[in-house]
Symmetry: C2
Subunit: 558 residues, 2 copies
């Protein structure tokens, strides 16, 4: 039997979020497997109200867990590591990561009661992790978090270069700069790179990306110019930005205070693992409260408008004894991720009402992206000279554009989305199988399938409101009293001015008085009839068709 | 008693949407009133699930309806005219508008069973509408809809210039160009302008705005370059853009078909009222289905990703016999309004999956804004030379920035938000009263107050799910059978693997077996106890605290 090299994205291909990629090598159906990244994506009220986290559906991976040799995590962003602690028990395989990523992962595993040693800390290239038929090296690459890594995945079927998330930054402040010479060498080793599996996030941004280092001067100038307290927000994990902001604050004669659990965890993990050197000393919130406003800078979580993060708390009033006042400034050293605009704008206006000046990224003066732009992607294609390119880490439109970009240069490329198993053994990618690849929701403490209907019912209640009917029938199938109607999420009164619930009750009573035995003795039929009445009366009275729950209780002779 | 001049925004000041402004002149508390604009804003799933439209709470205006002399509508955008038909019955005053705006308004009134003659069509300046102490002129000004007008409001207390929505466009394709000479004359008449009440939407956009006319060449070039069918979307009411798009399509040898009810209504109203001349002929969808794809252009509604509009329908499949195919192109000749990103991106990716090339506004090449930028606002300040400036039509941050801009030039200016009644009689605006100014929701066919709790309960059900408990007690206060639990929007099973509903029932049964009479005979107490059990068991089993409805039925001796 011939062996083959396969690629199977279960998350992250066709979306930006919940990255989960599988590579396999071996005889068809018996390939040994490795997993790259296990991330989450975040819920929203539109489609996933009440949900806590969204992960790739790993049912296929769990069924084939005996074929998995290892799990690799490229970096510590939630969309790459966030699911690890929630899904590891279904896989139970060793996890490999570099020191900082591993430290963040270990903290997550420990919270979930999984031994920290599950994650094995590895050195970057030239160190090689052997896992079944795979030889894997972590390749340092710049991104918006320390120690982001690409992976060289060597197999008997050829070399894969999996970029992870990356940008081309030769002065990234924290973490390793992009090293074109090393990339060139990687491309020249052995038979070169067979498949480049690449980040596609910024394929629509034409110009080369800018370096993190370009922000230091404008940020320092901006912070020095503020008269009151300045509060800056960015992603907690953007340790380089935290350092730049803190240094700018100190240069302006300010004491710096970090607010937000995630941010403190990131900084301490970065310091413990030696990736963050020279971070200025910071003070706690209690001490900060005593510092004159003009000498104080807060760096806080919540750049995406998250309701419970420090930014939102400050926009609502006092937080840990600190509060914003007229004459203070608030800086978004960040970009709003599409979909988060409402939350961010809510905070901006709340600050405006306090008399606080809000400064945003100002066309990139105070923020740079962590992803490679179109020109940078082309640079990488040119250096690595892959035979095939599979775009990943993008919505469908990003993947399609990236594939077109590669094809235009003569590189075989295909859009491959979650659930498509691709055979990479030949000269072009070939879809060979479709795997059920959906989403799993962490909802409270329970995992539910996206298609289970649970969330669909929540959305329906939110859009339509609810009518609840209880009916008691006696031993002779006669209604005991009248049906009782309650409503939730519906106007109390409608067109007629009379209470909606009473209108429905009256109509039901009238129906029951006339209903034949064959209906009234049959739970399904009576519920169907009552549901129809509830919806009809609601439509007439309030112009809405609500969700209806009918509870029929039958008293029995005992 | 001295007379005073007042301004009271009830909607639109502190938000972009549901514009509703009141001006008054007369003795304190007895001022005669006029209303300018009665618009809506649109609901979203985050804060207003299930709601159809959002309007300003007009309770104060209704209470003082006998003091209202007239209603003026500046232009036919939904955020200025959308509430008219829904609230007119509470006000019952004559409405004044120019021909196109009036035509759109009349169609809305007729649908609501209100006589079309309620709207009186008026000519622009120098024509004067006299309404109580007010002399009002409609001043033609360019915007993204035909016949947008500023209002000159002359009162014994001085001249107010209310800009409405505007941009400075000297070649707007459809509608009147900005006429600086006329503006200068308006400023020089009598004592000049006392108060400028001005659009603030684009105060953060530094450069002068661009003319609608700049789009013709790039759009024509773009459309000519497409090989398959091209579909373009923009706001239905942007009649100038529709004309530019249609002309570009015809120039490229394409038949043009308009899809979407709102768009056809706008075009026919514009043609009937003579504001749209020279619009190329269009074909219907049936005819379009027979045209070769390379010779066809559709112009469709749904630029903001609205689920039921033509764009979204086409992204899901066939619509009126037409469908998108690989090789076709889709153009957003529009900007995504903040908050609508998710819907727009969903459509972009659906088209990408079909192999359709999606083109967006491309940094303004294919779209220009309808609002005056910061530089344009400064131009207007300089020409009109008002003694005071009140920013309107903006979120708080826009109003604040606009007020700062005016103050820096020595113009007295204040941020005035919905519900703040301002006395404009002196040399500076002075807040004299706070009016209850909330939001009213149109929900189905019923109007409900934003604070009524109806929508809050929907949001709670969506976030927390619902547990429903029915308990029947007999004449001796003994439970008849066990409590019956149903859930909606919750996982069926939790931690233990047993059905959640049964777990709750078991716990409740155990409680009822032991419960003392003073609890079991008291509806409030028993419901409180059962609610606590439902939430506690849910928390343990599924990690969520759901909403709980308890229905206790007591059988009585009769």
């Amino acid at each position: 039997m011939t062996e083959r090299l396969i690629y199977l994205p279960l998350g992250g291909a066709g979306e930006i979020g919940m990255n989960a990629y599988v590579y396999g090598y071996g005889p068809e159906g018996k390939e040994r497997l490795i997993v790259v990244d296990l991330g989450v994506t975040f819920p929203d009220m539109d489609s996933t109200p009440g949900v806590d986290l969204i992960m790739a559906d790993l049912a296929w991976l769990e069924e084939n867990a005996d074929r998995i040799d290892a799990i690799f995590i490229t970096h510590a962003h939630e969309d790459h590591i966030g699911a690890l602690a929630h899904v590891w028990n279904g896989l139970r395989k060793p996890v490999y990561a570099r020191a900082f990523t591993g430290r963040i992962g270990q903290l997550k595993l420990e919270e979930a009661g999984i031994p920290a040693e599950t994650i094995r800390i590895v050195e970057p290239r030239p160190h090689v992790v052997e896992a079944g038929p795979f030889k894997v090296q972590f390749v340092p690459i710049s991104h918006s978090i320390p120690e982001s890594s690409a992976l060289i995945i060597d197999t008997p079927g050829g070399r894969i270069f999996h970029t992870g998330d990356f940008k081309l930054d030769q002065s990234p402040i924290v973490g390793e700069p992009f090293d074109p010479a090393m990339f060139k060498q990687i491309a020249e080793e052995g038979d070169g790179i067979k498949v480049l599996v690449s980040d596609s996030t910024n394929v629509f941004s034409p110009h080369p990306g800018r370096s993190e280092a370009t922000l230091a001067a404008p940020l320092t100038e901006l912070i020095a110019a503020q008269k009151g307290m300045i509060v800056a927000t960015t992603f907690a994990s953007n340790v380089a930005r935290l350092k730049t902001l803190a240094e700018a604050g100190v240069a302006a004669g300010r004491s710096v205070c970090l607010l937000g659990r995630a941010m403190k965890r990131m900084v301490s993990s970065a310091q413990e693992t030696g990736v963050l050197l020279g971070m200025p000393g910071t003070i706690g919130p209690e001490e900060a409260a005593d510092v004159p406003r003009g000498n104080l800078m807060l760096i806080v979580t919540g750049s995406q408008g998250e309701r419970r993060a420090a930014s939102a708390q400050l926009s609502r009033g006092k937080y840990l004894g600190l509060e914003m006042k007229e004459g203070d400034s608030f800086l978004f050293s960040s970009k709003t991720i599409p979909g988060n605009e409402r939350g961010v704008i809510r905070i901006m206006n709340a600050f405006s009402e306090m008399g606080v000046d809000v400064i945003d990224d100002n066309n990139g003066l105070y923020h740079v992206s962590g992803h490679a732009n179109r020109a940078d992607l082309e640079t990488v294609h040119a250096i690595l000279q892959p035979k095939m390119l599979i775009p990943m880490h993008g919505e469908h439109r990003h993947l399609r554009e990236h594939a077109k970009l590669a094809q235009a240069k003569g590189i075989a490329s295909e859009v491959v989305i979650n659930g498509e198993m691709v055979d990479l053994s030949g000269n072009v990618p070939k879809v060979v199988e479709h795997i059920e690849a959906g989403r799993t929701y962490l909802d409270g403490s329970v995992k539910i399938g996206a298609m289970d209907g649970v969330v669909r019912n929540r959305i329906r209640m939110a859009l339509n409101g609810l009518v609840l009917v209880t009916l008691i029938l006696d031993e002779q199938d006669q209604p005991l009293g009248e049906p009782w109607v309650e409503t939730m999420g519906l106007p109390k009164t409608g067109r007629g001015g009379a209470p909606l619930a009473e209108q429905i009750e009256d109509e039901m009573t009238e129906f029951l008085d006339r209903a034949p035995v064959k209906i009234i003795s049959n739970d399904d039929k009576i519920e169907e009839a009552l549901r129809r009445i509830a919806r009809q009366v609601s439509m007439e009275e309030i112009g809405k068709k609500p969700e209806v729950i009918i509870v029929t209780s039958r008293l029995t002779d005992e």
